[in-house]
Symmetry: C2
Subunit: 259 residues, 2 copies
């Protein structure tokens, strides 16, 4: 099975993208709602949670791990890769490679939670791969609660989105990386506010495409992931708001199994 | 020692009010930042966390517990009172008694997190004590992240505050209960938006007064709580935003000890 974890339901944008690109693969999801959000927590705490979540997915039969949480991917990918034998994918690298490929001016904007932006992972990785790039990052901590409230079209959400994007617009970025799995749900507000010519990179789609390519070159592993039953969605806590956000992401009702 | 716990640093408004009313008492605080916020979590999860937090405070020498978190107080007070021998105070009852005492029309508004409002605890308790009261409640889930961001005077915060209070204003409440320990930091926005004639009840002050009265009638217990050293503030995680909010609440720098 493909095991996907996130701090909450935001990572379901990744699960949903994988379902679209690899509809015949078995997927298991874990959303750590009881300890969400990770974005406001320290690196040490996030690393501990990431290891526990991976252990849970492996215990349920996952043979491939997707870190669908930018906060965890930015501070815990290394430790997961060195701790576990299973291949570990994360939402950051595929999005970075895409941004580097499409940016013409090399002026790239990155938005994410405080933890992700503070980690500097996007900036370091982009500069390592294409040294002449100029990276401009903005933490956008209010966007996750706004998405989780379902305020996807409220005036306040538009104002807050504009407030966050304004400095990046002033820097004339030609590419904007959505460094948080919740943000694709606000893409309809982000694209017009950053400017229609700016390429907005959605990390969920990029990691799904990367996984697709990886499996194409590994037919045996690919066959072992074949779908046998419905995909399962586990969470460490259930709330009405989480169920509604899950439904919003998949466009259908999702059964959340509490563990 | 007086042991105070909250999901994060919001409960420090309670600790601060206790320091003002009982400056000679020893206080120990625990903010469960690693698992914050509680407001979006289920009652079972909140109860489990509340028991663990109380055990921690008792292990550090607390002989009296203050639940400085409305989400925990609304769903976990009973279980704490039946599980532990130590007296347990919480932020809800004193505020309710005050609201009942000051309301002339009996039309009382309550604002809080989703968990607190959904629990119906304010409505039930007020009606039990004064049956003819009419209670109007509004969940205000965006206010905690706004306070934690330090956006205390931003235009968006004013708009969101107005949006939440509007239905209560339309109901002509004469008293408004702040059912979340973060909200006193927004009182300067709340009071003008709900109307200057409406009495705004701050639960932090009410629980501090209640504790003061309780200790007056128990001189022996009161003596045992005498201050011997600086008050200590423990947290399960440290972040810059939490440190800044703590500083904002106390008006001075607060050392957060991570456990």
């Amino acid at each position: 099975m493909i095991g996907v974890f996130d701090s909450g339901v935001g990572g379901m944008t990744v699960a949903s993208a994988i379902e679209q690109v690899l509809p015949d693969k078995q997927l298991i999801y874990f959303g750590d709602l009881a300890r969400a959000p990770y974005g406001s927590k320290s690196p040490e705490t996030i690393r501990r949670y990431a290891i526990e979540n991976t252990e849970f997915l492996i215990s349920k039969g996952a043979t491939l791990i997707i870190v669908a949480c930018n906060s965890a991917a930015s501070v815990a990918s290394d430790i997961l890769q060195s701790t576990f034998d299973q291949p570990v994918f994360e939402v950051i690298t595929p999005a970075i490679d895409r941004a580097i490929a499409v940016s013409r001016t090399g002026r790239i904007g990155v938005i994410g939670t405080r933890a992700t932006i503070k980690s500097g992972v996007y900036e370091q990785e982009i500069k390592r791969k294409r040294t002449e790039c100029k990276i401009f990052s903005e933490p956008c901590p209010m966007l996750v609660p706004l998405v989780e409230e379902g305020w996807l079209n409220k005036r306040e959400t538009k104002m807050i989105t504009r407030r966050y994007l304004h400095p990046l617009k002033m820097k004339n970025v030609d590419t904007l990386l959505l460094g948080c799995t919740h943000y694709p749900l606000l893409k309809h507000l982000i694209q017009p506010r950053i400017g229609k010519r700016v390429k907005v990179i959605d990390s969920s789609h990029e990691v799904a495409k990367r996984l697709h390519d990886f499996l194409e070159s590994r037919p045996e592993l690919s066959r072992s992931l074949e779908k046998k039953t419905e995909n399962t969605y586990y969470v460490s806590d259930v709330t009405d708001a989480a169920s509604m956000t899950a439904q919003r992401i998949f466009g259908r009702k999702i059964k959340l199994n509490k563990i």
